[in-house]
């Protein structure tokens, strides 16, 4: 992961964690595996921002935009839909501000409620 991508992940993680109703980002598989066994075939240096995936556009159909997927665990004391909408809005605002002119598709997936 490049330094700019690393920064983007960190900034997005901060933005998401600040949204009311977000408990935490989904734990990163690779990070846990790295801690478990350094020889894991899935271990890749630099990919340690949990719950956030940024995929470059593939040039096919709707995927002409960069896809940002957020996977998170929501707090049960707020309506899940409201939390995910707030996350989407916060991420969209951040990306629009920091990357004007770029096109993003934002996907928010709830992997747990606690």
């Amino acid at each position: 992961m490049s330094a700019s991508a690393d920064t983007m992940h960190s900034e997005l993680a901060h933005v998401v964690r600040e949204v009311p109703g977000v408990a935490f980002l989904a734990p990163g598989l690779r990070s846990r595996l790295r801690a478990l066994r350094a020889t894991s075939p899935l271990a890749r240096p630099g990919d340690d921002t949990p719950g956030i995936t940024v995929s470059a556009p593939s040039g096919e159909g709707r995927t002409s935009a960069t896809t940002v997927e957020i996977r998170l665990i929501c707090r049960s004391d707020r309506r899940t839909l409201d939390t995910t909408r707030a996350v989407r809005e916060a991420v969209d605002h951040h990306l629009t501000t920091r990357h004007p002119g770029d096109e993003f598709r934002i996907i928010v997936t709830v992997t747990g409620v606690t």
């Binding site: 478990l36 894991s40 899935l42 995910t84 989407r88 997936t109 709830v110």
Partner: protein, 209 residues
């Protein structure tokens, strides 16, 4: 890519991956360090291996955390199976909100919330809760198929089923924001209080998803 024909099932619970390989065989090969060209290139096999590694890390985390030490083997197994259900079989992503919002909730997460809602009705024990996308134009409602045990002393089973249906519908809307279609409540057993207290919930009926 080498795509072998579907392998013969020997275990009814075993799963055949879309590539035709048995999940159990893919996992066994990984554990034994057996590598071949198919597994290296097949997205389905690689995902299956990733699932197994995730389970392994979860179990080791449970085992290494003093605060999480199991009090007995049954408790530990229950917790491991919870991890299996939620981490290894999260189900499909279901749509939240409008279709074009790209908001999703994993099937098992929604199912667990709806089962809890059903169990808010006194005496009700929820079992399987299957969620399927309704085939409806212009929207993305989710159909619910929920099985429950209810008290043997229930005076009006149909009224109780309606109460469960109402509770599930309200919860889906107010807690999750999930747009439900049909809510089918199947009463699979009438149980006495003694039976209900004696039987652990997981033994009453499968709960995944």
């Amino acid at each position: 890519m080498n795509n072998p024909p579907p392998e013969t099932r020997t275990d009814p619970d075993d799963e055949t991956l879309p590539c035709g390989r048995l999940l159990s065989q893919v996992w066994a090969d990984w554990e034994e360090g057996v590598h071949d060209e198919h597994t290296a290139q097949c997205a389905h096999c690689r995902l299956a291996v990733a699932d197994l590694e995730r389970l392994e890390s979860q179990v080791r985390a449970l085992d290494s955390d003093p605060a999480q030490q199991p009090v007995d083997a049954a408790s530990f197994i229950d917790r491991v199976m919870d991890v299996v259900r939620l981490e290894l079989r999260p189900g499909r992503p279901l749509p939240l909100g409008e279709a074009d919002e790209d908001l999703r909730i994993m099937e098992n997460v929604a199912a667990r919330t709806l089962r809890q809602a059903a169990e808010e009705v006194p005496g009700v024990r929820a079992g399987s809760c299957r969620l399927t996308l309704a085939d409806a134009p212009g929207g993305t409602p989710v159909n619910v198929d929920l099985s429950v045990h209810v008290p043997l002393t229930t005076p009006d089973v149909q009224a109780l089923a309606q109460e469960i249906r109402d509770r599930v519908g309200v919860t889906a809307h107010e807690r999750l924001g999930l747009h439900l279609g049909e809510i089918d409540v199947r009463i699979t057993d009438l149980v006495s209080e003694d039976e209900d207290e004696a039987a652990p919930r997981s033994a009453q009926e499968g709960s995944a998803p």
